[in-house]
Amino acid sequence: SRRKRARARHKPCELRELEVSVSELGLGYESDETVLFRYCSGTCEAAVRSYDLSLKSMRSRRKIRKEKIRARPCCRPLAYDDDVSFLDAYNRYYTVNELSAKECGCV
C-alpha cells in the first residue's frame, strides 16, 4: 500500500542485504556464485547537525554560491565488510575488497 511504501522510505539509515550473483554486481566478473551484498539505506533527518543548518543559511544568504555543497547528512557505509572471493566461469579465482558495507551511519 501507499502508506507502507511511505513508511519504508522514511526508515532511518540502516544496513540492508541482498543475495546477488557475482555477475550482477557489474564489476566485470562472470560468475554464478552468490554473494551477500550489504548496503546502507534510509533517511538521515534525525542526524541534521548545526553544521548542516549553518551551511544552508550561508547558501541562502548567498555567501556560498558556486561551490558544490551538501547541507544534509547522507546514509553511507562507516566500515566495509571483509574480502569476498569467488571462482569465475573460466575457473579463475578473484578476491574483491570493500564490496559490502559492514556498518552504516549519517555522515
Partner: protein, 225 residues
C-alpha cells in the same frame, strides 16, 4: 503442462550445480566466507614470475579453513555431487590446486609419506586417514564401522599438509583421488608404494563415502553418539 513441470523449473533443473550451491551456502555464512576468502586470496597471490604463490602460507590458510569452519560447509564444498564437468571442475578447484596441490615434478609417494611423517601433525592425520578410510570387506559400505563421516573428516584433515589429496580430473562418472605423487623410482619398494597410493586412488570406502555424501544417502549411516 503446468503439472508436468510442477515443482521444478526445467531451466534451473538442467543448471543445478551442487558445488555452486555449496559455495553459496559458504558465502552467506560470515565465518565460512571470511576463512574461504582468506585461503583463496593467499593461495592465489602471485609472488613473482618464478614463484606463482607461497605454498607454505596457502597450506596454512587451508588448514585454518578446514579446522575452523564446521563440516556442514566444508564437506559440501569438497564432496558435492556433479552431473557435468563445469561442476566437477569447480569441485576440483576447491583447494586452489595450482598452488596447494600441483608442482613442477611429481615426487615419489614414499618420499612424500616420509616428509609427512617427519611432521607430527601430518603423521597423525595420515594415521587417522588410514584408520578411518581403510577399505574393509566385512561391512556393506567398505568402511570401518560403516562410518562415512569419520573417513570424510580424516580426508579433509589431510588438506594443507605435504600429503594434500585432490580429485585428479573433472570427470563426473568416476571419482579418482590422489596426492601429487607417483611410484616411479621406487626401486625395490615399488609394491609398498603402490599399496600406499591405492589407499587414495582405488579405495572403495573413500569412494563410497564421497558418493554417499553427494547423494545425501549417508544420513542414516552416521552412528548416533
Amino acid at each position: 503442462l503446468a503439472s508436468i513441470f510442477s515443482g521444478m523449473d526445467p531451466a534451473t533443473a538442467s543448471k543445478s550445480n551442487h558445488c555452486l550451491d555449496a559455495a553459496k551456502a559458504c558465502n552467506l555464512n560470515d565465518n565460512c566466507k571470511r576463512l574461504r576468502s582468506a585461503y583463496i586470496s593467499t593461495c592465489n597471490r602471485e609472488l613473482s614470475a618464478a614463484e606463482p604463490c607461497s605454498r607454505r602460507k596457502c597450506h596454512k590458510a587451508l588448514r585454518q579453513f578446514f579446522d575452523r569452519v564446521p563440516g556442514e560447509f566444508t564437506f559440501r564444498l569438497l564432496f558435492c555431487s556433479c552431473k557435468d564437468t563445469a561442476c566437477a571442475e569447480r569441485r576440483r578447484q576447491t583447494i586452489v590446486p595450482s598452488c596447494s596441490y600441483e608442482d613442477k615434478d611429481r615426487p615419489n609417494c614414499l618420499d612424500l609419506r616420509g616428509a609427512c611423517r617427519a611432521d607430527h601433525l601430518c603423521r597423525s592425520r595420515l594415521a587417522d586417514f588410514h584408520t578411518n578410510c581403510q577399505a574393509t570387506f566385512q561391512s556393506p559400505t567398505s568402511c570401518p564401522g560403516d562410518n562415512f563421516q569419520a573417513c570424510l573428516g580424516s580426508y579433509a584433515g589431510l588438506i594443507g599438509f605435504d600429503i594434500t589429496p585432490n580429485y585428479v580430473d573433472a570427470s563426473t562418472t568416476s571419482i579418482t583421488i590422489s596426492p601429487w605423487c607417483s611410484c616411479k623410482g621406487s626401486g625395490n619398494m615399488e609394491e609398498e608404494c603402490e599399496k600406499f597410493l591405492r589407499d587414495f586412488t582405488e579405495n572403495p570406502c573413500l569412494r563410497n563415502a564421497i558418493q554417499a555424501f553427494g547423494n545425501g544417502t549417508d544420513v542414516n549411516l552416521v552412528p548416533k553418539n
